[in-house]
């Protein structure tokens, strides 16, 4: 037979509603006939009610909104920045396009230049029978060189392609590599002869 002390140990759990059915029934049966334990139950009920009534004052919605924002900010600071893989990929693609575009532009520029050069040489040809490929700059006298330069200028200024050559462009701006390339192309002979 259980003592009042044993029954009183179960009183907090009776209030918490966690006793198994047989234990609860046994305790309730004892409480019905034991004023001491019944009084003790009331004391526990009062204690629990007093604890529950001691609720801290609500700091308000603004407090919790601020708290949320602080949490979000700390998370952003704490986590490593996840860089998009697309940005460097797009940058690389843009670079490739730029390089490719520049290459094509230079090729077209060189081609245009060659065409203009050939056209100027053709205009200078005093003997039409002479194949263009045999004309050498060294073969031109001063007068022919001046005419050649003049016709070159006319050809270039009249060119629709103004992207690579403008009024301010000075041949002296060409670097050694570009000059050599031009000269090499001239030495090799015209490929885009205009008729």
């Amino acid at each position: 037979m259980k003592s009042c002390e044993n029954y009183q140990e179960d009183l907090p759990f009776l209030l918490e509603e966690v006793l198994e059915a047989p234990e609860r029934a046994d305790l309730q049966a004892h409480l019905a006939v034991c004023p001491t334990c019944s009084s003790e139950l009331s004391a526990y009920q009062g204690l629990r009610s007093q604890m529950l009534s001691d609720t801290p004052s609500d700091p308000g919605d603004l407090f919790f909104q601020r708290q949320l924002k602080a949490i979000e900010a700390q998370i952003r600071l704490a986590m490593p920045r996840q860089r998009s893989v697309w940005i460097p990929a797009l940058a690389a693609a843009a670079m490739l396009l730029l390089v490719f575009g520049l290459g094509r532009w230079r090729e077209q520029r060189d081609l245009n230049f060659k065409q203009d050069w050939n056209s100027a040489l053709h205009a200078l040809s005093l003997e039409p029978e002479v194949p263009m490929g045999d004309v050498e700059l060294d073969d031109l006298n001063e007068k022919e060189l001046a005419l050649f330069a003049h016709r070159m200028e006319e050809e270039v200024l009249g060119s629709q392609d103004e992207t690579w050559f403008d009024d301010d462009t000075d041949w002296d701006d060409l670097d050694d590599g570009q000059e050599n390339q031009i000269l090499q192309q001239l030495q090799d002979g015209p490929t885009g002869r205009q008729t």
Partner: protein, 174 residues
């Protein structure tokens, strides 16, 4: 799962859902709103970083509570708040009556003092059970204990507080 994938927006919804419960748990443990706010913030930041390790073995609330309780312990240790055993004879506690206060307020302040004097583990169990209505099974998970031990702690805590109340009632009657 969007949250486990690090979706901060989704996580904010979880914060809104549990921030009050976590804050009040910390407040009851620490009795200081600033410290409780700090613990609450650290709880959610820590949880976000550890989301990948959440195994769904307990509820999310229990998991958050576990983090918060541990942070509260750290905070209490940091401030070296003395937690002493509640003396068996509360007459020796030396509580002084403050006549200017309302009886209810006086009782509340005395109750808070008594709660603060409970051993840390008993205080944690009582806080989670009475104020958070957490099942004993979940409390055991949160405190990394077993259900029997948790119930024993709860019993001791309530018995100590009950004895304190009995003493105060007798003092008021005198």
């Amino acid at each position: 799962m969007a949250v486990l994938a690090g979706d901060q927006q989704a996580y904010s919804l979880l914060v809104k859902k549990y921030q009050r419960a976590i804050f009040y748990t910390a407040l009851r443990m620490l009795r200081n709103p600033e410290d409780a706010d700090d613990v609450a913030q650290k709880t959610f930041v820590k949880a976000y970083r550890a989301l990948q390790g959440f195994r769904f073995e307990s509820s999310l609330k229990t998991w958050l509570t576990t983090i918060a309780i541990n942070l509260c312990r750290t905070e209490l240790m940091k401030h070296k708040r003395q937690m002493v055993e509640l003396p068996e004879n509360l007459a020796d506690a030396g509580f002084e009556r403050q006549k200017e206060q309302e009886a209810a307020d006086f009782k509340k302040s005395q109750l808070r003092s008594a709660l603060e004097l409970l051993p840390l583990r008993q205080r944690e169990v009582v806080t989670l059970r009475i104020y958070q209505e957490m099942p004993f099974k979940e409390i055991a998970k949160a405190l990394d204990s077993n259900e029997t031990a948790v119930k024993v702690n709860f019993h001791h805590a309530m018995k100590s507080l009950r004895e304190w109340m009995s003493k105060k009632v007798k003092d008021e009657e005198l």
